[in-house]
């Protein structure tokens, strides 16, 4: 018999209860059990940052976190950033400032930036650079990501959303 542990996770406001083997990684549970494939796996050893999610508001590497360690916690993934049709200010500014190309690092980058702006609502460019040093991006050269985070900062401070300015989303091919 396999050794299964009951785990309760609240992911993006939705509560999940499941029995997991102790070796199951949080990222695999998010992706394979909950179908939340927005959280990506990159280096698989906590270096690249693409698997970053927020656990009770703090960024963690879900590829080196066991699902049982996250028992009872609230998790936020990239799927929980947008408010329905309205993108989160960070998503908007990443889009507007060309803060992504292939998009693979983007979910982790967005969640790390989200935490950064919670902790440092009015950061300098230097603080943003330091803050996202935990996350690797091989496309953008970081400059546009820094610009996007800086542009999102005042919008997050004011807590305002401008859905009227949001261009219509074009749905691309999905699996």
């Amino acid at each position: 018999m396999k050794d299964l542990h009951p785990v309760t996770l609240t992911v993006n406001g939705r509560e999940y209860t499941l029995a997991v083997e102790p070796c199951r990684l949080l990222v695999d549970v998010l992706r394979d059990d909950f179908g939340l494939t927005g959280t990506h796996i990159g280096c698989e050893h906590g270096v690249c940052g693409t698997c970053t999610v927020l656990l009770d508001g703090a960024s963690i590497r879900s590829c080196i976190t066991l699902a049982v360690q996250a028992d009872g916690s609230e998790i936020r993934t990239v799927e929980g950033l947008a408010d329905g049709a309205a993108l989160h200010p960070l998503q908007e500014e990443f889009w507007d400032k060309q803060g992504l190309q292939c998009g693979y690092c983007t979910p982790g980058m967005l969640l790390r930036a989200c935490e950064l702006l919670e902790q440092t609502p009015d950061p300098t460019a230097e603080q943003v650079r330091e803050g996202i040093a935990s996350n690797l991006c091989r496309c953008t050269g970081y400059q546009y990501i820094v610009e996007a985070v800086l542009a999102a900062a005042p919008r997050m401070r004011e807590g305002r959303r401008t859905p009227a300015e949001t261009p219509t989303e074009t749905t691309g091919a999905q699996t």
């Binding site: 693979y104 261009p167 989303e169």
Partner: protein
């Protein structure tokens, strides 16, 4: 010789603000799906009966594989295949960098595959 009447050339728009496309930063149409975590990468694909792979990687900067015994991996639960450079060409007998793949396993679950490498 008759003078040909030419239409007036379009006005030269030099000021950046007057340009329609050139020099403008355009929002890419495919970005929202990536920003929402719906990019749809190969690792996101799920197919009936799909197996999961894990790769054994060299910890050495430069090394040669002298021998490789795949039997223990094949004996583990859930493992369907274990491969070396003799089977496929994406694995190396000479590992030229740390992280070079030297063996690979396919299993029912990713955990079983990782346990076997």
């Amino acid at each position: 010789m008759t003078a040909v009447e030419r239409p007036a050339p379009p006005p030269v728009r030099t000021h950046k603000a007057n340009r329609t496309w050139v020099g403008k930063s355009i929002r890419k149409v495919e970005d929202p799906k990536f920003l929402r975590g719906r990019g749809g990468y190969i690792a996101d694909l799920v197919r009936p009966g799909m197996l999961h792979a894990a790769v054994l990687r060299s910890p050495h900067a430069s090394a040669r594989v002298r021998s490789l015994d795949l039997a223990p991996a094949l004996g583990l639960p859930g493992v369907h295949a274990a491969l070396s450079c003799e089977d496929v060409d994406f694995l190396d007998a000479v590992a030229g960098f740390p992280g070079a793949g030297v063996a690979a396993v396919a299993a029912d679950s990713i955990e079983q595959a990782r346990a076997a490498v």
